[in-house]
């Protein structure tokens, strides 16, 4: 088959040459960490740098994207909560956030809040979140900081944020990779519209109630980050919902289906980011001239973004996270990376390189710093 023939792989020297820009970028990004005093930050920076560079080298050498991206993404997903919880416990001795901390603007701002605050902020100039606009000593995750980060990331990577930046998505991607075969094979594809329903509901409810409804009602990741101190029936009910959704959608269902079920069936931020999928210059296409509908891409897509109608249309649905799974598994090279404006299949590897340099630069800057920070804390414990 065409793909397997091409798996003669790129030569080592050429792969190294293509990896060099990422090596230089990583050295620049981690230079500050390496200059910190103590052995732990230096070792952490070196490990993270080596990790990112080796993965990128493998992407160049094997001409595959998804497998190597996944290692980075899962590492980010599991290391982020460790570092975050560490910081919370160091600052205030607990993961839970008491009302007193909310009143002083110490609630860390999460990017998931963004869709909920936009309309109330536009209409009333007030942000319906108990955080702070600018970073403070007790709250580095300020609103301006996180929104700026999101804006920059969206401009650079669009919906690929969900494959390279979202530390929550990395957790369920890890669980989805555990089993060799799915136990639940058939999923009703109508559920993949649920994130849009959640997005519309929380935007309208947040405007109607002037509170960030997703955070106070159904965010599964509150179970592993920070949550309102349990002091009442309401906060106890909230915890119950958070833990149940986390266990169900982030752990159990990914294990059983080998899909990213929280992303596919709940995450409103993913739906929000889908809007920006139209904006970026690189996308994934299906070359209908080469496609013999074998449905392998559909089976391997972690977010149910490919079905028969998508194959006929020649492109995945707008929920595509540009993870590369379909491209890497297509036996006919029909699923390809594509530069918008060019012919489908004409410059697939060039498109992939453009995409990877941009997203990996972002991933090293953002995810890499999170990984290095957490490793620093862990190493400081043992060193």
């Amino acid at each position: 088959m065409a793909k397997q023939a091409a798996l003669a792989q790129r030569s080592i020297s050429r792969s190294l040459l293509l990896t060099l820009p990422i090596l230089l970028w990583s050295l620049l990004m981690f230079s500050r960490t390496m200059m910190q005093s103590g052995k732990a930050p230096k070792i952490a920076a070196l490990i993270t740098l080596a990790f990112g560079v080796v993965l990128f080298f493998q992407m160049m050498r094997t001409l595959e994207t998804h497998r190597w991206r996944r290692y980075f993404f899962v590492a980010l997903g599991f290391l982020f909560p460790i570092g975050f919880i560490w910081d919370l416990v160091s600052l205030r001795g607990t993961m839970s956030i008491p009302v007193e901390r909310m009143l002083s603007g110490d609630t860390p701002f999460c990017f998931m809040v963004i869709p909920m605050v936009i309309v109330p902020a536009a209409l009333t100039r007030s942000i319906i979140f108990p955080g702070s606009i600018l970073p403070t000593a007790s709250n580095p995750h300020a609103i301006a900081t996180m929104v700026a980060l999101w804006l920059a990331a969206t401009l650079i990577v669009g919906k690929a944020w969900c494959s390279y930046g979202c530390f929550f998505g990395g957790i369920e991607e890890g669980f989805s990779a555990v089993a060799k075969k799915p136990v639940i094979k058939k999923l009703d594809t109508r559920w993949r519209w649920m994130p849009w329903a959640v997005l519309a509901a929380i935007v309208l409810l947040s405007l109607a109630t002037f509170e960030p409804v997703y955070c106070t009602w159904i965010c599964p990741f509150k179970a592993i980050t920070e949550y309102p101190q349990v002091r009442s029936l309401e906060t106890a009910a909230q915890m119950g919902i958070f833990v149940t959704l986390f266990a169900g959608l982030v752990v159990v269902l990914p294990l059983l289906t080998k899909k990213r079920t929280q992303c596919s069936f709940l995450c409103p931020f993913g739906a929000f980011q889908s809007v920006f999928n139209r904006v970026g210059p690189i996308d994934v296409r299906i070359d209908t001239a080469h496609c013999v509908p074998c449905n392998i891409c559909e089976k391997n897509c972690p977010t149910l973004s490919i079905d028969n109608s998508a194959v006929k249309a020649g492109k995945p649905m707008m929920s595509c996270m540009k993870c590369g799974a379909c491209v890497d598994t297509c036996p006919r090279d029909a699923a390809v990376w594509h530069i918008k404006g060019t012919d489908v299949g004409s410059h697939s590897e060039r498109a992939r390189l453009f995409h990877l340099y941009a997203v990996w630069a972002f991933a090293v800057m953002f995810g890499g710093s999170i990984i290095a920070n957490t490793l620093t804390k862990l190493l400081a414990m043992v060193a």
Binding site: W193, A197, L204, L205, L207, W217, S232, L233, E234
Partner: protein, 221 residues
């Protein structure tokens, strides 16, 4: 002349309060309108049912304010009970509406069979539910509504109070008219599917509110 002044005042208060009313009603109204997949006229009819129910809620409040002489800000305990029950009703209406919508939009059998009886129930529920949802959203105690109530009581005559509320309602209702435009999206199947999913999601949200409000009252008093 005085009557014209009253009408103008009520209408102006309604228009100025409209955005708040619209914002608080859209979580329920928009998915109901979008899920029906009716053309503009049909969507307008459903909106009309919703607004009629809302007017009903306003007028019930007007009567209560007039005859019971209630102070227009209820004690927080009574308010919590009222809102908890209203949330429970809304949860049931939304879930029922979402379920019967599926029944109504599916081709049912033509002979006497359970599907036909269920279809008849679904049809009736489909007419009755938007009115009830409008009513539930109309009995509210937001500041403009309270202000309207106070002013209505000040008019000194029951008929004047009713006229005041009707024109206040008319002023708020103007803001709802553009939502008829959702009928233009009826051919997009995904819009209707998302709207239907929203109905169940919102039912779960109102059910959650019911639990924490009424449950909190039960536990804490």
């Amino acid at each position: 002349m005085a009557a014209l002044g009253l009408v103008t005042e009520a209408f102006a208060l309604g228009v100025s309060s409209g955005p708040v009313c619209l914002a608080s009603c859209t979580p329920v109204l928009l998915p109901v309108l979008a899920a029906e997949r009716k053309p503009l006229g049909g969507t307008g009819i459903i909106l009309g049912e919703f607004l009629t129910g809302r007017l009903g809620g306003y007028l019930v409040f007007a009567c209560l304010a007039w005859f019971a002489g209630i102070t227009l800000s209820l004690q927080s305990h009574a308010r919590a009970v009222a809102f908890g029950l209203s949330d429970l009703a809304m949860a049931g209406l939304l879930a029922g509406y979402g379920w019967t919508l599926g029944r109504r939009q599916k081709a049912g059998c033509e002979h006497a069979c359970p599907a036909t009886r269920a279809r008849r129930f679904a049809d009736r529920f489909g007419v009755f539910a938007p009115f009830c949802m409008g009513f539930a959203s109309g009995v509210s105690l937001c500041p403009p509504f309270v202000a309207a109530g106070l002013r209505a009581v000040q008019t000194g005559a029951f008929v004047n109070a009713i006229i005041f509320f009707v024109w206040f309602f008319a002023g708020t209702a103007i803001w709802f008219i553009p939502s008829v435009g959702l009928g233009m999206l009826r051919r997009i199947e995904s819009v209707a599917l998302v709207a239907r999913l929203m109905l169940f999601l919102l039912a779960a949200y109102y059910g959650y509110l019911t639990f924490i409000v009424l449950g909190g009252l039960f536990i804490h008093g």
